[in-house]
Amino acid sequence: MTLVKVYVTYKKSILDPQGEAIKKAVHGMGHTIIQNVRMGKYFELTVSDNAQNIDAEINEVCDQLLANPNMESYRYEVMEENK
């Protein structure tokens, strides 16, 4: 099994209301060393071992489904799953 980790985040220019709310809460808890919070999504995709063209497929899934290119960008890592 291969594990693919995908990270989707809002583009820099976009206000992230959840991140803002969390930042406020974090400050409320006294953790003022945290100056900014951005919230995104994280996916773990399990890919079958004999799969070919993993990159092409993953990019397609990200472009078309996991991220909305109007507001989000993504990156991913392919790793061997250690059983």
């Binding site: 220019s13 976009i14 206000l15 209301p17 959840q18 999504k41 489904l65 909305n68 109007n70 507001m71």
Partner: protein, 225 residues
């Protein structure tokens, strides 16, 4: 005139739209399953609100891959009126028939209340029965209705008169108070408020009725040409 209401798994305002057409303007209406691949013979397409696929991942994101979507794109090109309400609006942006996107409400919460809307463009097939800048009372109910687009898109929207409805006061963080926009040609409209919930005084307002009447009238005008 024949309306289609598209039903995705999880759509939950589909029946409300169905009744809006059937009882509101006494027109012919049919529920169309997301697996269908033809919209032949329909004169207007309605994409309902509600949580298609639970709105899991992102509102409208999964519905954007349903089989019916290609057909919706095809008839959009043929100038068939397409109205997406709430989740329907979200789906229309996800499939690129409308620009921009709908983000989480600025206050980070779902909001349900009657809001005041201003009709910014009454020259569309959906709004011809309203007056310009008429104020309507129509309910909203959404968690992700915060309309966003980049600056150049916004300029385009303004230049082409694509902003159809604005909130009278900004309820969710939308740029320029945008509550509904159309495509450039004007046959595709997406809006967050729910006109189908405002058809009778007894439920609080009948300001939504004219929207369905406009669609019907525009159709009749076209047919009679």
């Amino acid at each position: 005139m024949r309306f289609a209401v598209i039903v995705f798994p999880g759509s939950n305002c589909d029946k409300d739209l169905y009744y809006a057409v059937k009882d509101g303007i006494n027109a012919d209406v049919k529920m169309v399953d997301y697996r269908e691949n033809s919209l032949e013979g329909f004169d207007a397409i309605l994409i309902p609100g509600g949580f298609s696929y639970g709105d899991y991942l992102r509102s409208g994101a999964i519905a954007a891959h349903a089989p019916i979507i290609n057909e919706i794109k095809r008839v959009a090109n043929l100038d068939v009126p397409i109205l997406g309400i709430c989740n329907g609006f979200q789906i229309l942006t996800e499939i690129g028939l409308l620009p921009g996107c709908l983000m989480k409400n600025q206050q980070n919460k779902f909001i349900c209340e009657d809001v005041e809307l201003s009709v910014e463009n009454n020259q569309t097939v959906f709004t011809s029965d309203y007056n310009y800048r008429q104020i309507l009372k129509i309910p909203v109910a959404h968690g992700e209705g915060n309309y966003y687009c980049d600056e150049s898109t916004l300029n385009e929207l303004n230049k082409n008169n694509q902003i159809v409805f604005k909130y009278c006061s900004n309820i969710n963080g939308s740029v320029e108070n945008i509550a509904g926009i159309s495509n450039k040609k004007g046959n595709v409209l997406g809006m967050m408020p729910h006109p189908e919930r405002a058809l009778e005084e007894i439920v609080g307002s009948d300001d939504g009725l004219k929207m369905f009447q406009s669609i019907l009238k525009s159709h009749m005008d076209r047919v009679n040409l």
